[in-house]
Amino acid sequence: MSLNWSNLVAQGRARDIGIPWSEDEQLKLANLQVEGHSRTDAASILRGTKPRKELEAEAKAAGVDFTPEATDTVLENTVRKVGKKNK
């Protein structure tokens, strides 16, 4: 069974491709949303990644080509690798 993981991750409804949120994480997500965070921002906080817009800006600045399907973790890792290479 193959779910539409890229959409689920992009919408903050899964941790990463093929990795769902655990029950604890779902609770934390709900609490963060009650505190006023959007679902995608809440997901970024739990993943420990920067907010999506910030990541996209960094990727563009680093010259990384990406599509909207690129997940936050993939984008962040790629930006980090490119950054190391350029140093």
Binding site: M1, S2, N4, N7, R13, P20, Q33, R39
Partner: protein, 327 residues
């Protein structure tokens, strides 16, 4: 005596009749088909998409055009057909000594087992829908138990792709304890939870839980809870409000022990008979079928392949509620 290749068609026809008769009986005992949608498909990959309702009627002025309906496409998934099968062996000895009883029994037993295994694979979807994100199915494959929203089949917070609203299909009791044992109180609470379901557009689309699904162990308790004139187990003269609202009790012995041998007899489920087949899907490219024989030269056995193609998929599970009965 079925001995030479000329005897193939004759014996095959006879064994096919046994297969058909046994398949018909097995289908009658096949509980899973009452809650799983089993469409025939030619697609190797079955594309599933949720449609989250559509806009309500609008006031239309005289002579004006009707507005176009507005629907929201929900999550999607792709389910790939898998093949399952075995070979039925008719040995040379069976044929040489005309042991037709044995041949028939071999075919009958293999056919029943094929349908039984499919039924168990359906039941395992329900009993494995509470923890983890995968389980080992009855065939030994590690498969996902996530519904189309990447949340466990039974959860307190199913999500959608439109907004942050969630819905629950994990049964709780009036004290809000999840996974209660089968009793009147959680049935009422689950029916209430289901009726207040709102689709992602915010429209209340009541889910009417009218089918109680229990293991063989819980059959008696389920029938007393639902069919008693008064409230079961009390001396008062109250009417039994559940009677008539739960229209069907499905007793499913495949729920007593799951495919991996774990006791799951306390698990129970409620379904909306009108909507459950939109949630639980099992497209079949081929129901279990027995093919014509092949001869193995060395042993002179005649082998009758028995196989099926199907896949199980979990849609947007608003019409099926579940409890492990642990609390």
């Amino acid at each position: 005596m079925a001995f030479t290749t000329l005897d193939y068609p004759k014996l095959t026809q006879k064994l096919n009749e046994v297969f058909n008769e046994s398949a018909k009986d097995s289908m009658e005992d096949f509980v899973g088909k009452q809650i799983f949608d089993m469409p025939n498909t030619d697609w190797k990959i079955y594309d599933y998409a949720v449609i989250h309702g559509s806009g309500a009627l609008s006031r239309v002025a005289e002579g004006a055009e009707l507005p176009t309906i507005n629907s929201n496409e929900g999550d999607s998934a792709a389910w790939t057909q898998k093949r399952y099968g075995e070979k039925i062996v008719i040995t040379k000895d069976m044929r040489k000594f005309d042991r037709y009883d044995q041949m028939q029994e071999v075919v009958r037993s293999a056919t029943q087992e094929a349908f039984n295994t499919v039924d168990q694979s359906f039941a395992d979807v329900l009993t494995n829908g509470f923890t983890g994100s995968t389980y080992t199915d009855v065939y030994g494959d590690v498969v996902s138990n996530l519904s189309v929203d990447a949340v466990l089949l039974f959860s307190a917070s199913h999500t959608n792709n439109i907004n942050s609203d969630t819905f629950r299909n994990l049964i709780r009791n009036a004290a809000l304890t999840a996974n209660p044992a089968l009793a009147r109180d959680p049935i009422i609470k689950a029916r209430s939870d289901a009726r207040t379901y709102k689709d992602p557009n915010g429209v209340n689309r009541p889910v009417m839980l009218d089918t109680l699904i229990v293991s063989a162990k819980n059959e008696d308790l389920a029938e007393r809870l639902v069919y008693s004139q008064g409230v079961a187990g009390t001396p008062n003269v109250d009417i039994n409000p559940i009677k008539g609202k739960i229209k069907n009790i499905l007793v499913w012995s495949k729920l007593d022990t799951n495919g991996q041998g774990t006791d799951t007899s306390s698990y129970w489920f409620l379904a909306d008979s009108r909507g459950v087949k939109n949630c639980l899907k099992a497209p079949f490219a081929q129901i279990p079928q027995m093919q014509a024989a092949e001869q193995v030269t060395e042993s002179q056995n005649w082998l009758y392949p028995l196989d099926a193609y199907y896949v199980i998929g979990l849609g947007y599970p608003k019409a099926i509620f579940g409890s492990t009965g642990a609390n």
